[in-house]
Symmetry: C2
Subunit: 320 residues, 2 copies
C-alpha cells in the first residue's frame, strides 16, 4: 500500500495531534513561542505519531485519549532536536561566540527543557501510570544515548555491540515506545503492546542503520549537507566499524580526529564506499527489518497490521 | 524550635531520599555518573525534600511512597542547577571556546536532561496521576521562568508585577509544589494540600526576595562571589526596581549593559545600599512570610505545623 494513503486515512487524527502540539508549545512567553513555532512549521513526517496511532488501532481506539500520548512522543522528539541544535550552533560559531549566539543558545536550551516538560504535562492528561512510566523511562534512555554518543566520539576501539546499544537508546527505543504506548493508551492487552514494542524496536534499529548508511551514500543534495558528516564529527557508525575490519582502512580511519579536514575525510569516504562495508550494513539493516516483520505477523491480521508493515518497509528501505 | 532539630528528627527519612537520589542518577554511563556525583556530594540543604516530608505529615505518612516524590522534586532542582551551570560556563569562557569547554557543555546539557527525565521516572513510581500532573506542570512553569528571566535582562522598563511573576515561576512554584506534593502523596484531602501549596508559594516568594537582597548586602565571603552579580548580569531584582523609583538612580542603573565593568557597578551598588530600596524589599519579603504564616495557622496544629513555621522563619529571615 502507498504510504500517502496511510497518511490520508489518518489525516483527521493527525490534525488533532497537530492542534495538541500547538497548544503544548503555546505559552505566556513570546520568545518561547517564537523559538518553538519554526519547529512546528517545519513539520516533518510525524512518523512516531503515525506509528502510535496504528498501534492504538489494536485496542479500543479513542483519538481523544491517544492524541495526548502521540503529541507527547512527538514533543520529546522535537525537544531532542532543539538540544541537538544547541550543540550544532555552538560548533558552527566556534571562536565567534557573540552575545547574540549565547543568548540564542540559552533560549534554545530552555526551550528544549520546556518542550520536554510539556511532553510530560501532555501525557499526564491520560490517567495511565504505566504510560507515564514508559515515557519517562524512554526519556532517560534517550539522554544516556546522547551522552554515550558524545563519550564514544573518535573512539576507534569500540565494538559492534557499543554501536548497537547506542542506536537502541538514541533512536530505536523512542520508536518502540511509540508503537507500544499507542496500544497501552487504547487499553490493548500486554501480549499485544509488548509485541508492538518489539516491532518498533526492530524498525528503529533498521531505520538508524539506514540513516547511517545514507550519511555516506546519499548525495549532498539529498542530505542537505555534504556526505560523511558522521565520520567528520567522530561518530563511529556501522559502515565505519565494518570498514575498520580491514587493517589498512583501520589505520586511515583511526587517524581522523576533531581537527581533521574535509579533504582528508573525502578520501576515506571514497574508499569506504568502494568496500563491502555499505553492503554489509544493508544486510544488518535488512535483518532488523525482517525481525520486525516477523513479530508483526504475530499480531492480529488486518488493515492496521498491513499499514505498519508498509511503514516498516518504507523506513527501512528508503533511499534518503 | 531549632532547625537542626527538625533535620535530626527527619534524618532517617532524609537518608532514604538520598539513597533514592543516588539510585536515580546512577546509570550505565560512567560520564553521566561522574557529572552527577559532584551534585549529590555537594548536598545542599535539601530544603524542598524536608518541606515535602513535613507536608506529608498532614496525611497518611508513608516514607516508602513519599521518598519517590521528595527525590523527584530535588532532582528537578538539581537539573535546573546543572543547566544554569551550562550557561555560566559559557559566559566565563567566552571568546576562549575550546573543544574541551564545548564537550563539557554538551555533557552538562544532556546530564541536566537526564536528571529531569530521572525526576519524572522517579515520581511515576507512585501511582498518583495528580502528582505526575503537578510535577510536570511545575517543570513547564520553571522553564518559562528561566526563559522570561533571560528575556527580561537589561530591560529597565519592567514593573514590579514582571519581577513577581518571574520569581513565582523561577522559585516559588517549586517550593509550593514540594509542600503540596508531600500532602498529596500521603493522601491528605484537597483542603489541606491546597493550603500547603499556598504556604509554600508565599515562603518561596519571601525566600527569593531575601536572596535578591542578599546579592547586594552580603559579603563576598558569604556569597562566594562579589556582591551585585545580579545587576551586573542584567537581572532586574526587587531592590533595583525600588531604587529606580528615584530619577537619578534610574538613569544610572539603566546605563548598565552587557559590557558594563565591575567598577561601574560598584558605585551603583553603594548608592543602592544606602537608599531605602533594601529596607523596602525586606518589608515585601516579610509580607510574604506573614501571609505564609497566616495560611499555616489554618492547618491542623501540632509539631509538624510548628516545624514548617520554623523553616519559614529560617528561610525568610536568613542573613546569607
Amino acid at each position: 500500500m502507498n504510504i500517502k494513503l496511510i497518511y490520508t486515512r489518518l489525516k483527521a487524527d493527525i490534525d488533532l495531534i497537530e492542534q495538541e502540539l500547538e497548544r503544548a508549545v503555546g505559552s505566556s512567553s513570546t520568545i518561547l513561542e517564537e523559538a518553538s513555532v519554526h519547529l512546528l512549521q517545519a513539520g516533518g513526517k510525524r512518523i512516531r505519531p503515525v506509528m502510535l496511532l496504528l498501534g492504538a488501532k489494536f485496542g479500543d481506539y479513542d483519538i481523544h485519549r491517544v492524541k495526548y500520548v502521540a503529541a507527547s512522543l512527538e514533543l520529546i522528539h522535537m525537544a531532542s532536536l532543539v538540544h541537538d541544535d544547541v550543540i550544532d550552533d555552538a560548533v558552527i560559531r566556534r571562536g565567534k561566540h557573540t552575545v547574540k549566539a549565547e543568548w540564542d543558545n540559552r533560549i534554545a536550551m530552555y526551550t528544549g527543557d520546556y518542550i520536554f516538560a510539556a511532553a510530560l504535562e501532555c501525557i499526564t492528561q491520560i490517567d495511565n501510570v504505566e504510560a507515564h512510566q514508559i515515557l519517562s523511562h524512554t526519556m532517560t534512555q534517550l539522554c544516556i544515548g546522547e551522552i554515550v554518543q558524545i563519550q564514544d566520539k573518535y573512539r576507534y576501539d569500540q565494538h559492534l555491540r557499543d554501536y548497537l546499544r547506542r542506536i537502541k537508546r538514541k533512536t530505536a527505543i523512542l520508536i518502540a515506545a511509540s508503537c507500544q504506548l499507542g496500544a497501552i493508551a487504547a487499553g490493548a492487552p500486554a501480549s499485544i503492546h509488548q509485541k508492538l514494542y518489539e516491532f518498533g524496536y526492530n524498525v528503529g534499529m533498521s531505520f538508524q542503520i539506514t540513516d547511517d548508511i545514507l550519511d555516506f551514500t546519499a548525495s549532498e543534495k539529498e542530505l542537505g549537507k555534504p556526505a560523511g558528516g558522521d565520520l567528520l564529527q567522530g561518530n563511529i557508525t556501522l559502515p565505519v566499524l565494518y570498514a575498520m575490519e580491514d587493517r589498512e582502512m583501520r589505520a586511515q580511519i583511526s587517524s581522523v580526529h576533531a581537527h581533521s579536514s574535509r579533504e582528508e575525510i573525502n578520501h576515506i569516504i571514497d574508499r569506504l564506499k568502494n568496500s563491502d562495508a555499505i553492503e554489509r550494513s544493508h544486510v544488518l539493516s535488512r535483518r532488523y527489518l525482517d525481525r520486525a516483520l516477523k513479530v508483526l505477523n504475530e499480531l492480529p491480521p488486518g488493515r492496521h497490521r498491513n499499514s505498519l508493515r508498509d511503514i516498516a518497509y518504507f523506513i527501512g528501505k528508503r533511499k534518503y
